[in-house]
Amino acid sequence: MKNNFLFLLFLASFFVIAFRSGASANQLAVELSSNQVQINTGFNGIDLLLFGTTNGADDIIVVIKGPPETNLVRKKSRVAGVWANTEKVLIKNTPNFYAVAATRPLDQISNKSILHAHEIGIENLSVSIPEEKRKSSNTTFNDYRQALFRLKSRLGLFIIQPLKINLIQNQLFKTEIHFPPNMSTGTYMAQIYSFKKGTLVDTINKLISVEKVGLGAEVFGLAHKHSALYGILAIFIAVASGWIAAIIFRKV
């Protein structure tokens, strides 16, 4: 049902663009299957469909970024036979989620400086690592940066390999992005770029808001805003259920 509706929307936008006369060249129009993600108790990740039209662009790139976060990346080394955290680096301003989708490999679409300027592609993502924390160890900051990307990708939060975008007759395109269940809440941004002969011709931004709803949201809110009450509630639930269990099984 929902998919049928999306398909109709998709077709409708196609006709609007196809029969539009004298429209300014390369103008992008983009829609998302949803711009509001709700994390409820049954949440197990979500696939968002992004589709749009362009007027004769050669290539489309979509970059999706989650809200910024700060990470402490720790490195283990062997201490007295066991592996213990011995070094750490604070990496600020990394997006919580990062994915790229493109019609072709990124380096074939445009040149390095354009990609770098727009932080397109994981290697062009700027992360700030404080210089003063440089230690005598031979670990370089690039190692930490690579470790961050690797660990985030293992969590499903960074998509290292660009996803595929289908561009039909240089007019219609769509792509699907999977968000894992451990995605964080906040505002995500989808940045859509259209290229013609390697030059950036148009760009458009779409926002996606991700929030917790229902029982889970209330539990989380209570735990963080009224943590003393939450603690008492947790104990009360435990005592009550332990007591009830004892009564039930006494009669069995």
Partner: protein
Amino acid sequence: MHIYLPIAEMSVNIFLILAMGGGVGFLSGLFGVGGGFLMTPLLIFIGVPAPVAVGTEANQIVASSVSGVLAHWRRGNVDFKMGGVLLMGGFAGSSAGVALFKYLQFIGQIDLVIKLCFVIFLGIIGALMFWESIRTIIRSRNPASRRSKLHQHNWLHGLPLKVRFRKSKLYISAILPFSIGAVVGVLSAIMGVGGGFIMIPAMIYLLGMPTSIVIGTSLFQIIFVTANVTFLQAVTVQTVDILLAVLLLAGAVVGAQFGSKYSVRMKGEQLRALLATMVLGVCVKIVFDLVVIPVDLYSLTPVLGG
């Protein structure tokens, strides 16, 4: 079927959690132990962040101890006076333990310390229990061997602040149970366990309490110590996941009933040998994880408010 855990911030299979609760509940019913020493490592193995595993497991132990203590209470097997002194120590110890937990988390060594604590205590208790049960099994085949005294008097009985514990038939210094309570309290906060596996041997061998009231009294004080840990973890680090605790609990309650029915069919020393083997097994697994080269030398900790 998946369920999203609001505090652990992950999606888990609801049946996996129920099965884990049931399995550990079965073992705890079978052996008469809390099961925290198995559940906390298991939760960490399936990807629950270590602090959430510890905080949530403390919450679950409150429930299983309440349900366990009622049966012992009805039979009059709880020494409330002794339990009171133990839990005063437990309050002090677990409060200090939660503060220590927070500090260790800050300096990035909490995972290591949790694992080292498990290795040390599971190793010692497992080895002692194993040795003890093997000796009993051998002795039962050779009935001519001598029996040891009920309990020995040593320097510990010379400490001041002596109190009479009528139910335990003891006249000993209150400092002793207080200190035991405090030490177990610290471990309870750091390891997310009730601490029965340390408390019970300490009560029997150090205090010389009669074995009949040891389990009930231990459960009685575990309720309050784990409740204190739950409360303090909820307030200081917000790592108690009520939803996860309720799921584990539902499985554990059912599992424990089957376990306790099954335990009647087995001999005490055989049970102890089996439990000792399992304790040592968990211990070896953790040692292995600590010593073998990790999958990734790097690890990630999101910084809140960063």
